[in-house]
């Protein structure tokens, strides 16, 4: 029997962690105890951003990573983060399928294997004021966390401020930032109702986490166990999409319970952001390698993004 130590970056309550726990239970159960996975969530073993290299260098056999972090290594990682490229769960699933062979090759060359992907819920704006259209954003200080959210924020007229997650609460209370663009999950994590009153849901983008495993560790298992893992991963991926969607509804409810006004984005904002997404996609295509563009072109065609 083998035991794998697994690192992940989110608290127990987070649906990603819950889903991983279910995945682990299924693997342990179906492998007849042949493989147990000891999950250390919440950055307690290895910090989220370092988990990819920890798996790649053989420090741990398995871990959960956030794909959007690695956009500087390959633009493919941030494609899902562009607004209105794949703005629904169905489209996000299709995009994932389109990206899969490319990612498989990328991770394979690095000695790793992706077991399953799970989407973050769609995102929205946390503001102190009701959002009637993109004009409301002019000059508002938005906290951003990546190059693509910066580009989006600036195109929307925001004054974008890069801020580490840990500084958000203080920054809100001192007026350094006035708005956030993030998922309901993160909003709950930092208890956004302390600082903002309105959540304007846009959906817009579904960036992904992935559970990755070291090829060496995977190949060392017997074939039956490998099959068990792959089957469980397939189930986990489907479940991730369902859990993410269910969580979104549930979490918007939590925001409401805490007195926030939760609304869908006005048509004018969606239009503006779709237009911005189109612009950003043009830039993305220029920055990405021909192979990357080729890999997702069928998806673009099917969505009329060509």
């Amino acid at each position: 029997a083998t035991t794998w130590l697994m690192a992940s970056g989110y608290p127990e309550e987070n649906f990603h962690t819950k889903n991983i726990r279910m995945f682990i239970d299924e693997v342990e159960d179906k492998s007849g105890g042949e493989l147990t996975i000891d999950l250390q969530p919440n950055d307690s073993l290895i910090k989220l951003d370092s988990i990819k290299r920890a798996v790649q260098s053989g420090q741990i056999p398995i871990g959960e990573i956030r794909l959007g972090v690695y956009g500087n290594e390959d633009p493919m990682y941030i494609l899902a983060g562009l607004p209105f490229i794949a703005p629904t769960y169905e489209a996000a699933w299709e995009l994932k399928d389109a990206q899969k062979p490319y990612f498989d090759k990328l991770f394979d060359e690095a000695g790793m294997k992706v077991l399953f992907y799970s989407p973050w819920p769609g995102q929205g704006f946390y503001t102190k004021f009701p959002v009637n259209g993109p004009d409301d954003f002019a000059g508002v200080k938005l906290r951003i966390y990546s190059t693509s959210t910066q580009e989006m924020g600036e195109l929307l007229g925001f004054q974008a401020t890069i801020l580490p997650f840990a500084e958000i609460p203080q920054a809100f209370s001192t007026g350094l930032i006035e708005a956030l663009f993030t998922s309901p999950q993160t909003g709950i994590d930092i208890q956004a109702w302390d600082n903002t009153d309105y959540y304007t849901d846009v959906g817009a983008l579904y960036s992904k986490n992935a559970v990755i495993v070291s090829k060496a560790a995977f190949d060392a298992l017997d074939e039956a166990t490998q099959t068990v893992i792959l089957e469980a991963a397939k189930t986990a991926e489907k479940r991730a999409w369902e859990m993410s969607e269910a969580t979104t509804t549930e979490q918007k409810g939590i925001l409401k319970e805490h007195g926030m006004t939760v609304t869908e984005a006005p048509e004018s904002l969606v239009e503006k952001m779709t237009e911005i997404g189109g612009k950003m996609l043009v830039t993305w295509k220029e920055s990405a390698s021909p192979e990357a563009v080729e890999a997702v072109t069928p998806f673009f065609k099917s969505k009329g993004l060509e």
Partner: protein, 433 residues
């Protein structure tokens, strides 16, 4: 219990290394290495390099060298002397007089800095030589600095509370607010202790030779103006929404450079001296921080903290008994691990246990942070002890002895917030909807 045996082995190795005079940072690294190399299948060397690297370029850490640099600049100019001169006019009626500067100074610094090492190092750099030169009791100087330096964790902003907020899903803004009154409580306990001590042992406080009229006192206060301006600039940059607490450290550096420039005490040579002084202190502290991070990571791999927490869970205690046992448990862990790691490594077991016992998680956050504060001054691994050893040249046991009364005062603070939980909860309840 296998975890207990392993913990004992590692403890013995640590004691031998430390007692033998091996550098503290090196000792922590070696204990981490022993844990990984002999008791887990994980690759120790590779984890050493990557963990040390990851923890060395941490954004939150950048405030440390900058505040230390600020302290160096102030120390090398007349500013810190002037400040004490100005304060002495006003504190002469208070039993213990200028010793209170350590406590109040740390309280103010704690409102700027998020960590205890920064608070302790910045205030200590300025006040330690001044108080010593004025003939104050060394033990009291060191004790108050060690104890009040830990306030950096409780008074917002606080790295500890942010980490706790994220792992326990509690509002960080509320936690920050919840930390204010307990912070003031601990300041009051410390100041009360100093007063009683100085009343009991009057010979240990230097004689007050000056008799100043109110007019003279006010005139003497002009010496406080530069430092007040600096405090206003640093706090103002945070609370005016211009800078994050981490960035405010830079405001402090620029401000103190400007003040030093005005007082004409800034030559290229003194500038270089301040910089090299800052390098030595911050390098010493950071070296310990990064190897301690490696040790904590190694502990995560061995699973010792979790096993011990699970064992506590298996005792099925009543809420008060649980708090008592958890307090003891964290104090023992705190002898070896830094605060953040202690919380993170045990969170998955401890937080559900606390929740199940019906204890308010917001309140428990403050409880945990005070325990973690106390861990900063317990040997062998206590960051404030290291900081003060580096600064004073006194041995760690000497400093530990000086800090002990303040450890017990923090324990008293714990008892008080347990009996009167409103001290923690009233501000977040009344100030937020």
């Amino acid at each position: 219990m296998a975890a207990g045996v392993l913990a004992t082995i590692l403890f013995t190795v640590m004691l031998i290394l430390l007692a033998g005079g091996v550098w503290i940072a090196v000792s922590l690294g070696i204990v981490g290495w022993v844990a990984l190399e002999f008791f887990t299948p994980a690759p120790a060397g590779s984890l050493l390099a990557s963990t040390v690297w990851d923890s060395s370029w941490n954004w939150a850490l950048t405030a440390l060298p900058l505040f230390v640099w600020m302290g160096e600049i102030l120390f090398r100019t007349r500013l810190s002397q002037d400040m004490f001169l100005g304060l002495s006019a006003w504190l002469s009626w208070l039993p213990g007089r200028l010793v209170h500067v350590n406590i109040v100074g740390c309280g103010i610094m704690a409102a700027v800095a998020g960590s205890s090492a920064v608070t302790c190092a910045t205030v200590g750099r300025i006040s330690l030589p001044e108080l010593k030169a004025r003939g104050y009791d060394e033990r009291m100087i060191l004790g108050t600095l060690a104890g009040s330096g830990t306030l950096g964790l409780l008074i917002p902003p606080s790295i500890m509370l942010i980490v706790y907020g994220v792992i326990s899903q509690q509002s960080i803004s509320r936690l920050f607010m919840a930390g204010v009154l307990p912070g003031i409580l601990i300041i009051a306990l410390f100041m009360g202790y100093v007063m009683i001590w100085s009343w009991l042992r009057p010979e240990l406080t230097p004689a007050d030779t000056e008799k100043l009229s109110l007019k003279e006192k006010l005139w003497r206060s002009r010496y406080l103006i530069p430092v007040m301006l600096l405090i206003i600039a640093v706090l103002g940059s945070i609370y005016g929404g211009f800078a994050t607490p981490t960035e405010a450290a830079t405001v402090g550096v620029i401000g103190s450079l400007i003040l030093a420039g005005f007082s004409r005490s800034l030559t290229p040579k003194t500038f270089m001296d301040t910089l090299l002084g800052a390098v030595r202190t911050s390098c010493m502290i950071t070296f310990i921080l990064v190897t301690a991070a490696f040790l904590s990571m190694a502990m995560g791999f061995t699973g010792i903290p979790r096993h011990l927490a699970t064992w506590v869970d298996s005792l099925h205690l009543s809420p008060y008994a649980l708090l008592f046992v958890l307090g003891i448990f964290y104090i023992i862990l705190g002898c070896f691990l830094d605060g953040v790691s202690m919380l993170v490594l045990t969170a998955t077991v401890v937080l559900p246990m606390v929740k199940a016992a019906g204890i308010d998680l917001l309140w428990f956050g403050i409880f945990a942070v005070i325990v973690v504060e106390a861990a900063q001054i317990t040997p062998p691994v206590g960051f404030n002890l290291f900081v003060l050893q580096g600064m004073s040249g006194r041995d760690i046991l000497h400093i530990t002895k000086a800090a002990m009364p303040f450890f017990f005062l923090m324990m008293l603070g714990l008892v008080i917030i347990t009996l009167v939980p409103q001290i923690v909860t009233i501000l977040p309840q009344t100030m937020m909807r």
